[in-house]
């Protein structure tokens, strides 16, 4: 499987993260999104007419929507990450996958504005982002009262992976996460999952690492 990838893209990271958590090897091809805008080139549009990243290619299958890629990876890997299969949970997973698009359109765009100078009404983007975060915080707080830490239950699903990146990267777009303790706990639970990988702006949990052992002095390594 080959992922056309940009290291700073939250949507590309969703797919890299899902694959890492599943132990699935992806080969990645870097696309010069910034400053080259290679995703808008004629060559790239031949692969994905929408001119967006990521693109996942597996044999004859070409996927251009990150949530579809999450479904594909999870289905192939035994469906554990799709929920328990009940009508309620299947619907809830879909609900949060759709919600993740709202996060991308608000917090994600605020991040591109502040970081890579994208045009946009930054105040409106941040307001929409904060509204989405409040909704998420409220849901996760209720979930905690019921003893659940993830969006749809006690185990993570593709819904968590779809929503996590743009939430965790909110400070990149000038939206602080200080006001959302349940979101921060949820973020910690995701970052503690075996196989978790980071991206720029999302740091790993250094405190989960074993205490360093003594090492030889630097001179000895020269």
């Amino acid at each position: 499987m080959k992922l056309y990838d940009y290291v700073l893209s939250a949507s590309c990271y969703k797919v890299r993260l899902m694959a890492a958590l599943l132990g699935e090897k992806l080969s990645t091809e870097a696309v010069d999104f910034h400053p080259g805008r290679a995703h808008r080139s004629r060559e790239f549009r031949a692969l994905n007419p929408a001119g967006t990243l990521p693109v996942l290619v597996d044999g004859g299958l070409i996927l251009t929507e990150s949530t579809a890629m999450l479904v594909y990876l999870a289905q192939r890997a035994g469906k554990v990450w799709l929920g328990d299969g009940s009508p309620v949970q299947a619907a809830q997973v879909q609900q949060w996958l759709a919600f993740s698009a709202r996060l991308g359109g608000s917090l994600g765009m605020a991040r591109l504005h502040d970081m890579l100078l994208y045009a946009g009404d930054i105040d409106a983007l941040r307001r929409a982002g904060v509204a989405a975060l409040r909704e998420l915080e409220s849901h996760l707080t209720e979930a905690r009262f019921d003893g659940r830490i993830f969006l749809t239950g006690t185990t993570p699903t593709i819904a968590d992976i779809a929503c996590f990146p743009n939430v965790a990267l909110a400070p990149d777009g000038g939206v602080s996460l200080d006001d959302y303790p349940s979101i921060r706990l949820w973020s910690r639970a995701i970052r503690a999952l075996p196989g978790f990988i980071e991206m720029p702006g999302i740091h790993r949990l250094h405190e989960l690492k074993p205490a360093p052992e003594a090492v030889p002095p630097l001179e000895a390594l020269l």
């Binding site: 290291v7 870097a30 502040d114 970081m115 100078l117 400070p171 790993r204 090492v215 630097l218």
Partner: protein, 281 residues
């Protein structure tokens, strides 16, 4: 009131490859609005409110001086060396003092914690002793004989090596580093950051590289550098105080901070206080 010493320096304001006709790139330099564009004859113009600014084109970027240039733009001889690949990495905006962006670039000790498993890894956190000087002839800050253990020092590095670095502050908001080249033991890879001061607490950073690497695709080289710099961005945006303190205060520098201390002394001596605070923090 911005000191003349600040106004008479050179600052990066655009990437040459991205220049367009009027209005071109509308941006800020030291708090003032400027337009960077090509005129009808193809010449590069940096237009301020009071007229055009002095312009130099070098290292893939447009440099402007809002005052009377105190000296020509600093040299990077490696830019003209045959066999090197020159890589423009684009711009990233950071909500921090331009001086803090440079200072972070000079720091090695954070590598294992911020650039984990790439430029550093626990438990290899030791910064060996190195040498720092303010060179009187070129009026630049230099750190030499810097050694650090790195799991993946460059895109072209296959495994962990002890990398040697030299750091150079060539202008108040531009720094160049020289590091062990994984592909060529006789040469240094050259990586620079050119920082455009928009305001005292907001900057745009243009990483630029001159490498010996004929094989790695351009997009991979750019993304490697962007990955590294964006790992720093969230740290930089949370540094307090927002302005870089030039006088010692509550901070307790260690041996590893020698370059930073020299940079701050150099800024203070030259009166380059835009983005700095003089009151002890």
């Amino acid at each position: 009131m911005i000191p003349a010493a600040v106004l008479n320096e050179w600052y990066p304001v655009a990437m040459i490859a991205q220049l367009a006709a009027w209005p071109g790139r509308q941006t800020l330099l030291l708090g003032s609005e400027i337009n960077v564009f090509r005129d009808a004859a193809g010449a590069v113009v940096v237009q301020g409110a009071d007229g055009p600014l002095a312009v130099t084109l070098a290292y893939g970027h447009v440099w402007a001086c809002p005052g009377v240039p105190a000296h020509p733009l600093f040299p990077i001889p490696e830019a003209d060396q045959p066999g090197r690949r020159l890589v423009d990495c684009g711009v990233v905006r950071v909500k921090c003092s331009p001086l803090r962006a440079v200072e972070n670039f000079l720091d090695i000790a954070h590598f294992p914690f911020v650039h984990t498993d790439v430029l550093g890894a626990e438990p290899h956190t030791e910064v060996g002793r190195y040498e720092v000087q303010i060179r009187e002839d070129s009026d630049e800050v230099w750190a030499t004989k810097v050694h650090f253990y790195q799991p993946q020092a460059a895109k072209s590095a296959a495994g962990g090596i002890v990398t040697e670095y030299m750091y150079r502050v060539a202008a108040p908001t531009a720094s160049v580093l020289y590091k062990t080249c994984p592909n060529n033991a006789d040469e240094w890879d050259v990586i620079a950051i050119f920082v455009q001061p928009l305001t005292e607490e907001l900057c745009e950073v243009w990483p630029w590289m001159a490498l010996f690497d004929d094989t790695t695709p351009q997009a991979d080289l750019i993304q490697f550098q962007q990955m590294i710099f964006l790992q720093d961005r969230s740290i930089l945006e949370n540094q307090i105080p927002r302005l870089l303190p030039l006088d010692p205060g509550k901070e307790i520098p260690t041996q590893a901070d020698l370059t930073s201390i020299a940079y701050r002394r150099w800024l203070k001596r030259k009166g380059l206080t835009y983005g700095a605070q003089m009151v002890a923090a």
